[in-house]
């Protein structure tokens, strides 16, 4: 017995030391790789940029101070601008809300069709999943620009573009939620002869609704930004006004500042409301 215990640790020592050496080697390699990637990446980006990082750093505040300076000078005009651009802001929010609504509704359908165990046609699952991957992979701006060419400017191309992207993104998230739903109620409903729609609506949706709603809210937050950005490329809303005033430069910076303020406040407000609501949905309910 004594002999046995005497050489066991030696053995374990060797095994463990080998383990440690390997781990150190790997973490060393990973660390070096990461540092090399970061440094060389930074140097590449720096050299391919017009202005260098170090040269630019002292001037970082030039632009904001130009904008703020002008806005300050004509601060009395600010309330007027806020009112002037409110309709654009509403349009931006509407684009986001409508797109989120449409995207979420289709996202639910897509997710049910692509969740194993729930989908009525198993063979279609991989097809629908790839379809959602593609919807997610195309940046909204691409769809929006193409649609602007086809449908003309305005809110609709942006809405469609965001809705498509939302469909893909929410479809994937929703189907992950669905996967965790219990199949027992579904089987129970199946045993009474319920149709697919009834099984989903009564058996699955009540289980997953709080999570879906919470994800949809998060998406709304993201979509408001997206909708503002698309305005930038001509899809209407406040982004369009922001671009027109911002690119004019000196002389309209006060308007740009006002628009920016509107947009910023909206984003923060929606962000805060949605994060409180999401917290309630996912934690509050679960506890009760």
């Amino acid at each position: 017995m004594a002999e046995l215990t005497a050489h066991i640790p030696r053995d374990i020592r060797q095994v463990y030391m080998a383990h440690v050496r390997q781990k150190r080697l790997w973490s060393g390699i990973l660390l070096i790789l990461f540092v090399v990637l970061m440094v060389s990446g930074f140097l590449t980006a720096n050299s391919r940029n017009a202005g260098g990082f170090l040269n630019g750093l002292p001037n970082v505040l030039d632009f904001p101070s130009d904008v703020l300076g002008e806005a300050w000078e004509r601060a009395h005009l600010l309330p007027g601008y806020l009112i002037k651009y409110l309709p654009s802001l509403i349009e931006t929010v509407n684009i986001a809300a409508a797109a989120t609504l449409i995207g979420a509704v289709f996202g639910i359908v897509l997710s049910l069709l692509s969740t194993r165990g729930l989908a009525p046609a198993g063979w279609a699952i991989p097809i629908i999943r790839r379809f959602m991957d593609i919807l997610r992979a195309v940046p909204e701006i691409v769809v929006a620009l193409v649609l602007i060419f086809l449908l003309g400017g305005g809110p609709v191309p942006a809405m469609i573009a965001i809705a498509l992207h939302t469909m893909g993104a929410l479809g994937k998230l929703f189907s992950e939620v669905n996967e965790n739903a219990s199949l027992k109620p579904v089987e129970g409903l199946q045993s009474v002869g319920a149709r697919w729609g009834q099984r989903m609506w009564l058996g699955v949706i009540p289980q997953v609704a709080p999570n879906l709603l919470s994800y949809a809210l998060l998406r709304l937050e993201i979509n408001i930004r997206a909708s503002a950005i698309l305005g930038f490329v001509g899809a209407g809303g406040i982004g369009y006004d922001l671009r027109n005033t911002m690119t004019w430069g000196q002389g309209k910076f006060d308007e740009a500042a006002a628009i920016f303020l509107l947009l910023f406040v909206t984003i923060i407000v929606v962000d805060q409301i949605s994060s409180v609501a999401r917290d309630r949905l996912t934690h509050g309910r679960a506890a009760s």
Binding site: V192, A194, G197, Q198
Partner: protein, 274 residues
């Protein structure tokens, strides 16, 4: 009225139900016993058409229901209610809604999506709950109920279907002895008062003996016993459960009286047997 002919179900290599041939000519209360993996659940799931049949046929009142699909299959399911071990209710919905789900097959999808159940159905649902002694819980969420109460809700849902057959897959396995008794008595009463056929998978011999008119024993997918409770001797039971000499009736019991008599030392054996 219900005939199974050489009914077989295999999962790949594994034959879960092996050429089961059974005939039920009048509504009775039937218990199916057998140890875990014997194929009891699979048999019931084929009857309800939750699972497809590999070979063999099921006929009910002269109609072949083995290959039904779509609407016809759902119609059959509506006539052949199923009760599960885990109740399989919609936990977040209230009790009455869960019971009303029994009418889904009869109502249009759209109407049910908007909760448009006829008032008469709602009333009947409450009557059924009342009959099962849980009407007071009608407005509660299903998840707020105890196991025994949930199982009675499941029975109520089954009754709501006005089924010709009620299938029950180990309806009392998740329940404590007290609740188990209430649930089995409800099933028996339904059989006696409404004259419906009840087929229940049971876990324990004494339950089958006490409540059933006819007992079927399965082992490794095959029907190895089919007779009255009286014909079910301890020797027979040993064969069904594949147990040796140490087998004792009490080991599979969940009856309250039995439990209290044998108390503590029994617990280990119960586990071993389950």
């Amino acid at each position: 009225m219900l005939t199974l002919t050489s009914l077989t179900k295999s999962f790949g290599q594994n034959v879960a139900v092996d050429r089961a041939t059974l005939n039920f000519d009048r509504p009775a209360m039937i218990g199916i016993i057998g140890r875990s993996g014997a194929g009891k659940s699979t048999l019931l799931r084929m009857l309800n058409r939750l699972a497809d049949v590999t070979s063999g046929t099921i006929t009910f009142e002269g109609h072949d229901i083995t290959k039904l699909s779509g609407k016809a299959k759902r119609h059959w399911q509506s006539q052949c209610a199923m009760i599960f071990q885990q109740f399989n209710l919609v936990p977040r919905m209230d009790v009455v809604s869960n019971v009303l789900h029994g009418t889904l097959n009869r109502r249009s999808t759209l109407a049910t999506l908007f909760n448009l159940y006829p008032t008469a159905d709602i009333h009947r649902a409450i009557d059924i709950l009342d009959r099962l002694g849980i009407a007071d819980h009608a407005p509660k969420r299903a998840e707020a109920l105890s196991g025994g109460q949930q199982q009675r809700v499941a029975i109520a849902r089954a009754l709501m279907q006005e089924p010709k057959i009620i299938l029950a897959d180990e309806p009392i396995a998740s329940l404590d002895p007290m609740n188990a008794q209430v649930v089995m008595q409800s099933l028996r009463r339904i059989h006696e008062e409404d004259g419906r056929m009840v087929i229940a998978n049971l876990h324990t011999l004494d339950t089958a003996r006490r409540y059933c008119d006819r007992v079927i024993g399965m082992r490794d997918g095959k029907v190895v016993f089919d007779g009255t409770p009286e014909q079910l001797t301890t020797g027979m039971a040993r064969e069904i459960y594949g147990a040796g000499e140490e087998f004792s009736e009490a080991a599979t019991s969940t009856e309250i009286e039995t439990l209290e008599q044998t108390a503590a030392p029994q617990r280990h054996e119960v586990k071993a047997a389950v």
